[in-house]
Amino acid sequence: MLGFLGVLVDGLSYGALLFLLSIGLSVTLGMMGFINLAHTALAMVGGYLAVTLGERAGWSFGWAVAGAVAAATVLGVVLERGLFQLMYRKSELAQVLLTLGVMLMATAGVTYVWGPSLQFVQVPAALTGRADFGPIDFSRYRLMLLALSVVLLVALLVGIERTRFGTMIRASVDNQRVAAALGIPIQKVFMATFAIGTALAALGGALGVEALGLDATFAMKYLVLALLVVVLGGAGSITGTFAAAMLLGVLNIACAYYLPEIGSFAMYALMLVVLLVRPQGMRGLSKEAA
């Protein structure tokens, strides 16, 4: 039982990072139908920037992460306005190829600047080591990730349900043409959404240096996982993405713990099954039940 609790905490914190890494991808796909395979590359850049700010420039962890997120977001917006914007009307294959190319360039770029090896950050003492709860202990860092993900989820849901901007996002996701006809500035909404998505991804990358390990293969590795989350959770749905990320995180860790022989096999099989049976993922599951 205690083993299971450990697996749960590990899995959910892993899921938290997956959520951060994929929510941006999900919303851009759901809103603009834009497949951005360079999304995790932006997260990776966020991670590398956090390492540089923390290790080379000597900033404390919190500020390094904040700085990295800010810088990566700016980069993301520039990329969106300068390049991705041209692709919204093009075919899916063209989007895939272009963003794949951007991902390759980003991977080559970080290898060139930082080298291919694993990167390290100095995590503040309060977040290192384990928190004792009697017979069981948990990693403090992972507990922090868990708490953060809940806070972010609530913030995002409140934001999307209660604010005007959130309403505009929901309208654009539901039906772009009508939303535009109603006077919603689609381009601006999209740019802002893209920025938020990139910021969250960069946060995931920066926090992931410690928990996931950051090297030049990060973008590709987590792209597949992020795609899996989006497929499972349904593009454009925050709760769907969250649930899918958590489910996948726990599944991954539980498999490694209880059934290590299965490995990643299970994940891809799951992806296939979901795509075949329910191409739209878990999004709107509750709506349909009603």
Binding site: L2, D215, A216, Y257, E261
Partner: protein, 395 residues
């Protein structure tokens, strides 16, 4: 009279041609093709190997037996057997190399073995462990590095005889990993120990957390671990420290790949006290090694280190030079192999020789990670002399 003249002329012509041919070979540069990791995640190790080779040539001169030595490097980053194979083909047919060496990854060595066999060129596996059987598959393959069974068997024996009763094994799921696991289990249980669980981690992107957690929950006396080293080793040791296994009194036993001298300092104090077994340590106390380490530091920086990876390259070049010296620079593939397999050298690691499969026979040391002068070293405290690879018999 005429016949005799003709005969003499013919003999002279023959001698002239042969010596011309030999001279052609002796005049020709001695080319060594090195297939190694110049890029990708293991580029640091590949660079280390390259630096060692260049250091060797600087120390021993770049000419041997009248032939200038040229090293041609080809990149096979990580496990890329196809690239390795193609590189070998090109090195042999295009560049006409005399030796093929290097190899930091097992699949690369396996892919090249048939090529050198068909071409009758000597191949020296300098760095990677490769699988035990590779030297039995071809008479043109010589192993200068080590095998996992060879370094694992002494560790298992030592553990069983030193108060460790139960072990949980965590190895990477590929050739060397499974070799290590099998040999450890076999030897440990033969000496009265019990392996209470075994798990294999994926080669690509392993998350060590859950595996170590599971091991921790089983409460063994020690964990035996193997992974390809480098970044994975650092991650593993970090995760081991993070999960509090040392606090629970669960020792960590590994082969030397995880406490690779070149990466040891990166692990920080989390690595202190780790017990490992391997054939080479930077801290090995012999005059040859002291000279080797000093020369490397002088050439590449006071903080620079080489490890078992570099020693393999160093000894590989030694062997090649020896072949050239003994044959005066001209030899066929078969002749080279005969000399190589009969060599007895004093390497920086200790004394080495070769068995009937041209596989290396060497000392294996049990070491503990300690801090000296502010740096981490694998300090040897037990020696198993002249260990032959037990992996072939085990199959």
């Amino acid at each position: 009279m005429k016949r005799r003249l003709t005969l003499e002329l013919a003999a002279a012509a023959g001698l002239l041609l042969t010596s011309a041919g030999l001279a052609a070979q002796t005049g020709e540069p001695l080319r060594v093709g090195i297939i190694t990791e110049l890029s990708g995640a293991s580029a640091d190790s590949g660079r280390q190997g390259r630096q060692v080779l260049e250091l060797f040539m600087k120390q021993h001169g770049d000419t041997v037996a009248g032939r200038k030595v040229e090293i041609l490097y080809r990149d096979a980053p990580g496990a890329s057997p196809e690239l390795a194979r193609r590189a070998a083909q090109e090195l042999i047919s295009r560049e006409k190399v005399d030796f093929i060496g290097g190899f930091g990854f097992t699949p690369n060595a396996i892919a090249v073995a048939p090529v050198v066999t068909a071409a009758k060129k000597p191949m020296i596996i300098m760095n990677t462990a490769a699988t035990s059987v590779i030297t039995t598959l071809s008479p043109y393959v010589m192993r200068m590095s080590f095998t996992l069974p060879q370094v694992t068997q002494p560790l298992a024996e030592w553990a069983a005889k030193n108060g460790i009763k139960t072990v949980y094994t965590i190895v990477t799921d590929f050739g060397p990993g499974t070799d290590a696991e099998k040999m450890f289990v076999k030897t440990f249980e033969a000496h009265g120990g019990k392996v209470i669980g075994s798990v294999r981690t994926p080669l690509a992107n392993p998350q060590f957390g859950p595996f170590l957690q599971r091991a921790r929950d089983e409460k063994p006396d020690a964990i035996f671990a193997f992974n390809p080293g480098g970044d994975q080793a650092v991650q593993f040791v970090k995760a081991y420290a993070e999960r509090g296994l040392a606090k629970d009194g669960i020792k960590l036993l590994t082969t030397g790949d995880i406490v690779d001298d070149a990466f040891l300092n990166k692990m920080g104090d989390a690595a202190l006290g780790l017990i490992s077994s391997h054939h080479y340590s930077t801290a090995h106390d012999s005059p040859e090694n002291k000279a080797f380490v000093a020369a490397y530091r002088e050439a590449y920086g006071a903080k620079e280190r080489t490890s078992f990876y570099g020693v393999g390259s160093w000894d590989g070049m030694s062997a090649i030079y020896e072949v050239a010296r003994r044959t005066n620079g001209s030899f066929t593939g078969e002749e080279a192999m005969k000399i190589l397999c009969g060599l007895k050298l004093t390497s920086p690691r200790g004394p080495i020789s070769f068995d009937e499969h041209c596989d290396i026979v060497q000392n294996v040391y049990i070491r503990r990670v300690e801090k000296r002068d502010g740096e981490l070293y694998n300090v040897e405290f037990a020696t198993f002399p002249a260990v032959k690879d037990p992996g072939k018999a085990a199959k």
